[in-house]
Symmetry: C2
Subunit: 214 residues, 2 copies
DNA sequence: TAGATTGTTAATCGATTAACAATC
DNA sequence: TAGATTGTTAATCGATTAACAATC
């Protein structure tokens, strides 16, 4: 894997999608694919596919194409999906519970170790066999258990304070579901999932398509 | 509101964010803001803010700035958030339940009218006072109740078939949470929320930041 | 009126696509 | 070897930023 200065976020955002399609190909027993065939499948241009991949190294073979298996492995390694990540969830409301219950993450190497809450009525219960603990102890827990990722499922009012606490405690990344933009120190990665923003842009596109019809 | 041929998706994706910040300003009692002040707050350049807004019309006033109230209303109208949308959720698993429970959407004009499932053990229960119905009846229900949006919370295997059915039944948009790219007819808008993709790009960035430190 | 700030055109930057030489 | 397809450079396209005239 070639090491390069700075790869644009547009490229990074496409990698998980490449990986998903490669997984499907693997399941179908396909063992090689050309950038052209891949283009027809995934909807990016063949040129873009080759450019994207060559940011990280020459994974193909001229005259042949790409090996599905090894490309899948390479992309997984680039994304860092060849290791495990330990997560804590802050906020045991609907969304926090849904994520805790979603065993997919566990299988994929993202292990939910604990859930933290301020509401005393929820503290002590178990969700998908994961203990709901007192938010007061989150810093201690993150430090002692080498937690990698904090998942923020709080209200937007609490989100930044929770983020600060988690960063202080040493997480390397935050996955934020609160509808607010969170600031992190330079060494902590942040990924915002703004569900309502997503719904709003859906509304926009629905209305445009509807206008077109009239 | 000026009507223009084609506005890039990059612009559309920023609108909900502008709107969120304007809401906060409103709450704080701020009634005007210049593109420069807004830039400092939201992190886009003043130039970009003015460009973005001028895609839709001249909402500001030279020498003064933008009225927070009216800009908030304008952006809401552009996004189509000045009306109600009726939604059905397909899939009453963790995520489907979380969305059904999330009353935020209701307050914001997105009303969950029904949830549909194939698992007979879930059919008939109520989630946040919304009935879980038999997936068999989804087409009929969508047609009879003029449902606007279908929310796909199924497995990736079932997602496309569910999407086809919802489109056939007449929804105008799909909000897809299944980890697969869904195809829709031209007149149906689609918004994919790929949570695992988001987590994967978080992993990537965490690892890059960690490399930098070493 | 003078000052401030928009709306808009022009310049720059970055990302995507096209082309083709290298090579399996 | 000939054919196919990558890796990579060059051209194009689109989005962002800068500049400034218009105007409140």
């Amino acid at each position: 894997m070639k090491r390069q200065a700075k790869i644009s976020n547009a490229v990074i955002k496409r990698l998980p999608r490449y990986r998903r399609y490669l997984k499907e190909l693997q399941k179908k027993g396909v063992d090689k694919i050309s950038s052209n065939e891949f283009s027809n499948l995934i909807g990016y241009t063949a040129s873009q596919i080759r450019q994207d991949l060559n940011n990280f190294g020459g994974f193909g073979q001229q005259g042949y194409g790409y090996s599905v298996d090894s490309l899948y492995k390479e992309i997984s390694a680039i994304l860092g999906l060849d290791r495990q990540y330990k997560m804590v969830i802050v906020g045991a409301g609907n969304l926090g519970q849904a994520i805790a219950n979603h065993t997919y993450y566990y299988k994929a190497g993202f292990v939910v170790c604990g859930i933290f809450e301020i509401n005393p009525r929820l503290i002590g219960i178990r969700i998908n066999d994961i203990e709901v603990m007192d938010y007061e102890n989150v810093v201690e827990y993150v430090e002692e258990n080498d937690i990698d990722i904090g998942v923020i499922c709080t209200t937007k009012e609490a989100a930044q304070e929770v983020a600060d606490k988690l960063c202080f405690a040493g997480v390397k990344g935050l996955w934020n579901f609160a509808p607010v933009d969170i600031e992190t120190p330079n060494h902590v990665a942040i990924e915002n999932v703004h569900l309502s923003d997503s719904l709003h842009s859906l509304a926009y596109h629905m209305n445009r398509l509807n206008e077109e019809k009239n």
